[in-house]
Symmetry: C2
Subunit: 125 residues, 2 copies
DNA sequence: CAAGTTTTGACAACCATTTTCGTTTTCGCC
DNA sequence: GGCGAAAACGAAAATGGTTGTCAAAACTTG
């Protein structure tokens, strides 16, 4: 793992929620790094390929990334204000998705599940 | 509902799976319509605002649309080859998502659930 | 230090989507 | 049927996230 890739991974780990590539680029530059935007994208792609970070799309189509604690398949509960994310697991959902697929004769079934809301902290204001 | 919007809605209804705005534009032009790309986007936005069509994002970030049979909240089982979509309902998932959100103090909880796979027909080939 | 390989980053290219803006169509009203 | 305002339309340009290009920089190895 090259130095730049480590820097991106670290910047991601330092933040609690999902960040976009552009966000991370801004973070790194703000910290004095001379990294380029291209490299941030490359690092994120490599990290997601190797399973070190999770990727998902916002409703606006922007890709956002997060360094996750567990390596297992899991989903997220994301605050739509501060974008803090909680990792959640749902055995029931996994089973349900597999079952639905099988019922309709589908093979190679995968699924995406993301839950959005406003977290307790942000609900106060 | 204007004529153009009807045309877009009809083109969408005529197809069994999810189509992108660009796909629909190509379809309509192929049918001899002189519709513009701008109008297709506007029609789709209006249709999704009024709840007449469902929108979701592919993994590549492209927005895809579908005219659905029921007006209720539901999800889809989409073939990743021919993009045929089956409407599915999962009371269990709805409950699960609401519960998870509540457990973590989140308010205004919403969720996105999409299931992808290869349909029986496309699995044959 | 030299030659070869990998990584980097400024910049241009892409592509879906949105905005702009002048033109056309629609619709209510005479 | 004719008129004018308002809405709809569409071509072209702008936007913005993401990817491709390519030469320079950094690292490796002999």
């Amino acid at each position: 793992m090259s130095t730049r890739r480590e820097a991106v991974h670290q910047a991601l780990t330092a933040s609690s929620g999902f960040r976009s590539a552009q966000d991370l680029y801004a973070d790194l530059r703000a910290d004095g790094s001379k990294i380029g935007l291209t490299t941030v994208y490359r690092a994120l792609q490599a990290l997601s390929d190797s399973g070190d970070v999770d990727v998902l799309r916002t409703d606006e189509g922007e890709a956002v990334y997060r360094a996750c604690d567990t390596e297992n398949h899991h989903h997220h509960l994301v605050c739509r204000v501060c974008s803090t994310a909680v990792e959640i697991e749902g055995p029931a959902v996994e089973r349900w998705a597999a079952e639905i697929g099988a019922q309709h004769g589908f093979t190679g079934v995968t699924h995406t599940v993301e839950v959005f809301g406003t977290c307790a902290e942000c609900s106060k204001g």
